[in-house]
């Protein structure tokens, strides 16, 4: 019999504010432990939280981008539990009245159809610190640098039906938050992480009992973890057991999930409104001012690229995966005047070089204007596309801009008809046998002559001119 999988995701996006959500400490990643923890972050007696307005701005921006209802009044609540990396003994979060209400995201399925995934809510909260178990024998170190970092927890409806949909949703959201500039999306540093609620059922039946899988911090892991969890649940049910509601941790090394705590062990968090913070009031004027800062969103940008630059859907899709790539492309396209050529190169050689070196496009050694400079030299026949690859590699290695590389290496294309004719005359004279065979009808030998001409010119002869002159001379 058939099984249907039901998946809902809770995504924690770390907001890209400079300071923490309730204190002035820096949120920069990777500092020495406890050097970015103020009195407030340490939960010292007597300290009080003060809301970072930038975090509210970012949450509203996100809400607008998913077409969500924005609460005119939202409330911070305390989630009470004891843990050493939670200095106050409670986490400030939002519970009954989150800032972002119901919204949605559309994802593209493998067959090209569009599926709408509901977003239940998104709320602001502070992150906890980190417990470090490795470096202290028999003891645990606490690093509170992360404590108080602003998070937006984005909760989806249980609308996804397989791991691929979950990944598509997560990728879409990942692109969106980076587009909006509200999250750097760095999954390795934990800026964008995901918990998945997974259950299985017979189609048409009510939802099955779900397990929550924690700590999914890569697209690959989430797919594998969900698939593994689905198999585990089906195995249990098919062998006569019942799935228990629990929290499970995914272990990527073993590709398995294991139980962290059952529902019975779950904390009673004793949520109540935080009396230290006033409700967050959002006015229509504030919403309008945030709306004015919204960038063009990925879908709109993709459609514009297709119409404005006559790009294929594939190219437009690739170029709008991130705002940095799209911006780079547009700068190159406008700089060189040929969008199609720009798209080919950005999606081709540039993308390959970035992947090979692991460099972000924003830090690419060849900036967009320099790149446009290179493509201009193809367009004005200074170099061929093939030579351009050599020039690009040199530019990537820091050997200067396109013109100076071309100049230094003497890569300028030979377009002097006389020079090409002389060269071809020599080649024909030196290869009487091939000339005779070609003239006798062995057309395939044309490529041999082209190759010889290019070799003789060290690749610099203009290929179109070589073709034309060769055709004419070989015709005799």
């Amino acid at each position: 019999m058939e099984w249907e999988t039901v998946i809902g995701l809770e995504i924690h996006a770390q907001l890209a504010t400079k300071s923490k959500i309730f204190s002035g400490s820096s949120t920069a990643y990777g500092a020495e432990p406890n050097t970015q923890a103020s009195l407030v972050d340490l939960g010292m007696p007597g300290v009080l939280p003060v809301l970072n307005k930038e975090a509210v701005h970012m949450a509203v921006k996100f809400g607008l981008a998913i077409d969500a209802h924005l609460a005119p009044r939202s409330v911070f609540a305390r989630k009470n539990y004891f843990y050493p990396d939670l200095p106050k003994g409670y986490q400030i979060s939002q519970y009954e009245l989150p800032i972002v209400g119901i919204g949605h995201m559309d994802i593209e399925l493998e067959d090209g159809s569009i599926k709408r995934i509901g977003v239940t809510r998104a709320h602001l909260e502070e992150d906890a610190g980190k417990s470090l178990h490795e470096d202290f024998q028999g003891q645990t170190g606490i690093d509170l640098n992360r404590a108080g970092t602003p998070l937006l927890e984005i909760v989806s409806e249980p609308d996804m039906r397989n791991a691929k949909e979950a990944v598509a949703y997560m990728k879409k959201l990942h692109a969106l938050v980076r587009y909006l500039g509200v999250c750097d999306g760095n999954m390795q540093e934990g800026s964008f992480r995901c918990d998945a609620n997974v259950s299985v059922r017979r189609p048409g039946q009510p939802f099955g009992t779900r397990a929550e899988i924690k700590n999914l911090n890569s697209f690959r892991f989430i797919e594998r973890a969900i698939n593994h969890e689905v198999e585990r649940q089906i195995d249990i049910i098919e062998s006569g057991g019942t799935v228990v509601q629990e929290t499970r941790l995914y272990d990527p090394d073993r590709n398995e999930t294991r139980s962290m705590r059952s529902k019975e062990d779950a904390n009673d968090y004793r949520y109540f409104p935080d009396p230290d913070l006033l409700p967050v009031e959002i006015t229509p004027e504030f919403i309008a001012s945030v709306r004015a800062t919204l960038p063009e969103l990925p879908e709109a940008k993709k459609q514009r690229f297709i119409t404005q630059y006559s790009l294929s859907t594939y190219d437009a899709d690739m170029l709008t995966q991130s705002r940095d790539v799209a911006d780079y492309f547009e700068a190159v396209a406008q700089g060189c005047g040929d969008a199609k050529l720009a798209a080919n190169w950005v999606n081709g050689d540039l993308s390959a070089a970035l992947n090979r070196t692991g460099i972000e496009i924003a830090n690419a050694p060849v900036a967009a204007d320099a790149f446009a400079g290179l493509l201009k030299r193809i367009l004005d026949n200074t170099i061929s596309g093939k030579i351009a690859k050599e020039v690009f590699d040199a530019m990537w290695n820091g050997e200067g801009d396109a013109d100076s590389v071309i100049d230094k290496k003497g890569l300028k294309q030979i377009t002097d008809t006389g020079a090409i004719e002389a060269m071809i005359d020599e080649i024909i004279a030196a290869n009487p046998k091939q000339t005779e065979e070609y003239r006798a009808g062995k057309d395939k030998l044309f490529g041999f002559f082209v190759g010889a001409a290019m070799k003789a010119s060290k690749g610099k002869a203009n290929p179109e001119q070589v073709n034309a002159i060769l055709k004419q001379k070989l015709a005799g």
């Binding site: 939960g43 010292m44 007597g46 009470n80 050493p84 409670y90 009673d268 004793r270 949520y271 009396p275």
Partner: protein, 490 residues
């Protein structure tokens, strides 16, 4: 012979310093000497900051001489309840949990007083984490009432009240969550004001119940309170609940007329529960106001009988969460040889907190638990709004409300120690005001038949502190109750 320094009001102290009659050092030493003589008996201070007070006095004398410091508080000694964080000074909150806690920073009010040139004499004893009405829950021993050392001084700001009553400091800062300034001030024959919630920043004041806690001055007179309030009131960006509203000069309107003042007497405050001896003193004082041209009207606060039960849901709920940070991990008491994390938490908290604090954490934890939240916390919040509306209704007819600050005079040490409900009822008349967030004050109006002082509670509308201080000051201009000091401490 001129008056001794400890008998001077804040204003006269300041004038004496500026006229060069005595130095800041002399004033400081005069109080330090009194503390040395009397604190053993009263136990009003947990920490006396003798060395830093003298160092501060030297510095302030210099600055005053150079003309660098000219504020209303410049050179004036003061004491702080031991829940105000004081940089590099022990800040215990009256608890074993913080017996070893030296604060790394100054509370907002401590900062303000320091900047104004005040001299910190020490930190006052208090009920543990401000939970109590007799100062008997302190881990540092009970405080004695200077008017009868077998009696409690009230609480939780009992140390500050006893300090001012015995003139061991000219002013002390207390905190009031359900009556913790007003009840002890009433028991000790001094003036104390709990301003409107949000008027003074709570930053650095160790929280008991965040939605109720408010700092305020305790001093012999309304004028002293006004001078101090001028320094500590106002917006602080570090406390989101502090209110952005101009701070008037509270001393400027002290001499305004109170002719035609409409005083409301809530009938519920004169019903069963009020000790008749106290009631008699209150009624006499009301007549004095009437004789001065005030119009007396009866008002009703129909939900006030629910205030104590509501308070004992809301305040414990908030404290159960506020006190979670005392877990033995980063500061405060940590048990010996914890076996594991759970043991560390449980024993550190078991050993660090006293019985009353544990009782309230338990009540609050229960009230917030799944399945009980709606029935307790949410319902309490709804009634809290009704109580607020009661006051709003009353203030449509009257300018201020008056009544007793406490149902009794100071009671004997130990008399109510084992009866929490009787202790909770001590705050019967102060709690409704706290729940509404309104400003409330108390000022001395005489002595009951048992010879112990009685305070009048005066409640104003939101941010009406200036009017309240004006009314009390006018009363104090023609009476001398507030200048009376127990013979032993004169």
């Amino acid at each position: 012979m001129s008056d001794p320094i400890h008998s001077l009001s804040l204003k006269k102290l300041r004038d004496g310093i500026h006229a060069g009659n005595f130095s800041v050092m002399e004033a400081t030493d005069a109080y330090l000497e009194r503390i040395a003589n009397f604190n053993e008996e009263l136990n009003a201070f947990i920490t006396v900051t003798r060395d830093s007070a003298q160092a501060q006095a030297v510095e302030i004398d210099n600055r005053i001489r150079k003309g660098e410091l000219d504020g209303a508080m410049a050179g004036l000694p003061y004491a702080l309840k031991d829940l105000f964080c004081s940089k590099d000074v022990l800040t215990t909150c009256g608890s074993n949990m913080l017996r070893n806690f030296v604060s790394p920073y100054d509370a907002h009010v401590a900062e303000r007083l320091k900047a104004a040139g005040g001299v910190l004499l020490g930190k006052n004893n208090m009920d543990e984490f401000a939970m109590g009405s007799s100062n008997e829950t302190s881990a540092f021993g009970n405080v004695r009432n200077p008017w009868d050392t077998d009696c409690v001084p009230g609480g939780s700001s009992g140390g500050g009240a006893a300090t001012v009553a015995a003139r061991l400091a000219p002013v002390a800062l207390g905190s009031d969550t359900g009556g913790s300034i007003r009840q002890p001030a009433s028991f000790c024959n001094i003036t104390g004001i709990k301003p409107t919630y949000g008027r003074i920043s709570r930053y650095g004041m160790i929280a008991f119940a965040s939605s109720l806690d408010q700092c305020g001055p305790m001093a012999p007179s309304a004028e002293d309170c006004a001078i101090t309030l001028n320094v500590i009131a106002g917006l602080d960006a570090r406390d989101s609940t502090s209110v952005d509203r101009p701070v008037p000069d509270y001393t400027a309107t002290l001499n305004d007329s109170i002719d035609g003042l409409k005083i409301g007497l809530p009938k519920e405050f004169f019903a069963e529960g009020l000790n008749p001896q106290v009631g008699a003193v209150i009624e006499r004082a009301i007549k004095e106001f009437e004789a001065r041209g005030a119009i007396i009207k009866e008002v009703t606060l129909p939900n006030s009988h629910l205030a104590v039960p509501v308070y004992y849901v809301v305040a414990p709920a908030e404290c159960s969460s506020n006190l979670s940070r005392f877990d033995g991990v980063r500061f405060g008491h940590r048990c010996e040889n914890p076996q594991d994390l759970k043991d560390l938490y449980e024993r550190s908290r078991w050993e660090g907190f006293g019985a009353e604090v544990k009782r309230r954490i338990m009540i609050g934890t229960y009230a917030l638990s799944a399945g009980y939240y709606d029935a307790y916390y949410l319902k309490a919040q709804k009634i809290r709004r009704l109580i607020q509306q009661d006051f709003a209704e009353a203030f449509k007819d009257v300018d201020v409300i008056m009544g007793p600050s406490a149902p009794t005079t100071a009671f004997k040490l130990g008399a109510k120690k084992d009866d929490p409900i009787a202790m909770y009822l001590e705050d019967l008349y102060t709690i409704p005001v706290s729940l509404a967030g309104l400003p409330g004050m108390t000022f001395p109006i005489g002595f009951a038949a048992d010879g112990l002082p009685v305070g009048m509670q005066l409640v104003g509308n939101y941010f009406e502190e200036a009017r309240m201080l004006n009314i009390a000051h006018q009363y104090q201009l023609s009476t001398d109750w507030h200048t009376q000091v127990p013979a032993k401490f004169a």
